[in-house]
């Protein structure tokens, strides 16, 4: 990993061994198509709602996608004080 010598870091649950096989990519693509149908079917009448479909990630299984692209570690953030009201300076 480029001389870092560190562990694989957080969330390292999927380690790809070599380029994906055609079969694997085809299976992932089919699963993506099914997922798109489901996601788009639930709120068909909401005109502004998100649409889901084929993009550069459709050849990845969700666990592959997550293992490569979703690598930000969560942290605990203090709650914004309820009694605090931020005044907005005039934004020029």
């Amino acid at each position: 990993d480029g001389g870092r010598g560190r562990g694989a870091g957080p969330g390292a649950t999927f380690s790809r061994t070599g380029p994906p096989s055609r079969e694997r990519e085809a299976a992932a693509f089919r699963e993506s198509l099914n997922r798109h149908r489901y996601l788009n079917s639930l709120f068909p009448n909401e005109n502004s709602t998100a649409s889901y479909g084929i993009n550069q990630f459709s050849y990845l299984f969700p666990e592959e996608f997550k293992a490569i692209y979703l690598r930000s570690k969560p942290s605990r953030f203090p709650r914004y004080p309820t009694d605090l009201q931020m005044s907005i300076t005039n934004v020029s």
């Binding site: 996601l39 969560p74 914004y80 931020m86």
Partner: protein
């Protein structure tokens, strides 16, 4: 609050970038916030080095993952000067940290804030107006398939796993939404951006919010 606001229209947001097969979203979002904060202060808008944060932010894991909070703490505590991307370009893999002389020009931060704004997205919008684009960490599992429109379902505030940059909001339509810059290239989503419904902590967008001061 204005009905809509977008820092892109003030020309203080750099172009969408592509993290490729590197799990460095946490670095892209932090560097994006510093770029904008500096431009808001009158500095020229330019790409700063994400690779420097990936290689040198020792409490993170480079392309294997990291935390926005750790990166901000490192930038602030070490008073790191971020150099231009052209001087330390992105390689989409971990590398050995490159050091620069003290006299080398760069951009450092004076501080940062980090809050959970869930249930207070109106205050979060004020923070956006006051400090500039906000670093947020969201649950982006369903973003794998996103093509466009306002994300308002299928996106829990479960486990935060992806860092992005909120550059604006738009409440003029039937569904108010945050304007969110991603780091998956400009062909993803809406020219590289996602629109996430405001007011319901969709994707956990308000749980982990940071802003930088320069």
């Amino acid at each position: 609050l204005p009905v809509r606001f977008d820092w892109r229209e003030k020309h203080v947001v750099t172009q969408v970038r592509n993290q490729k097969m590197c799990g460095g979203c946490w670095a892209f979002s932090v560097v994006g916030a510093v770029e904008s904060a500096c431009a808001i202060k009158g500095e020229p808008l330019e790409d700063l080095s994400v690779q420097q944060v990936i290689d040198c932010s020792y409490s993170n894991y480079g392309c294997n993952g990291g935390s926005t909070l750790s990166a901000l703490n490192w930038l602030n505590k070490m008073q790191v000067k971020l150099v231009k991307d052209s001087e330390y370009p992105f390689k989409a893999q971990n590398g050995l940290c490159q050091y620069f002389s003290v006299s080398h020009s760069g951009f450092s931060i004076k501080g940062y804030s980090a809050y959970d704004f869930s249930d207070r997205e109106d205050e979060m919008a004020k923070a956006l107006l006051t400090f500039g684009p906000l670093i947020v960490v969201v649950d982006a599992v369903s973003w794998q398939d996103y093509l466009g429109g306002v994300i308002q379902h299928h996106c829990s505030s479960g486990e935060a796993n992806h860092a992005v940059l909120v550059t604006g909001f738009d409440t003029t339509g039937s569904t108010p939404y945050w304007i969110v810059r991603n780091s998956w290239g400009s062909s993803w989503g809406v020219d590289g951006y996602a629109h996430v419904k405001m007011g319901a902590n969709i994707c956990g967008i308000a749980d982990s919010v940071s802003a930088v001061f320069v």
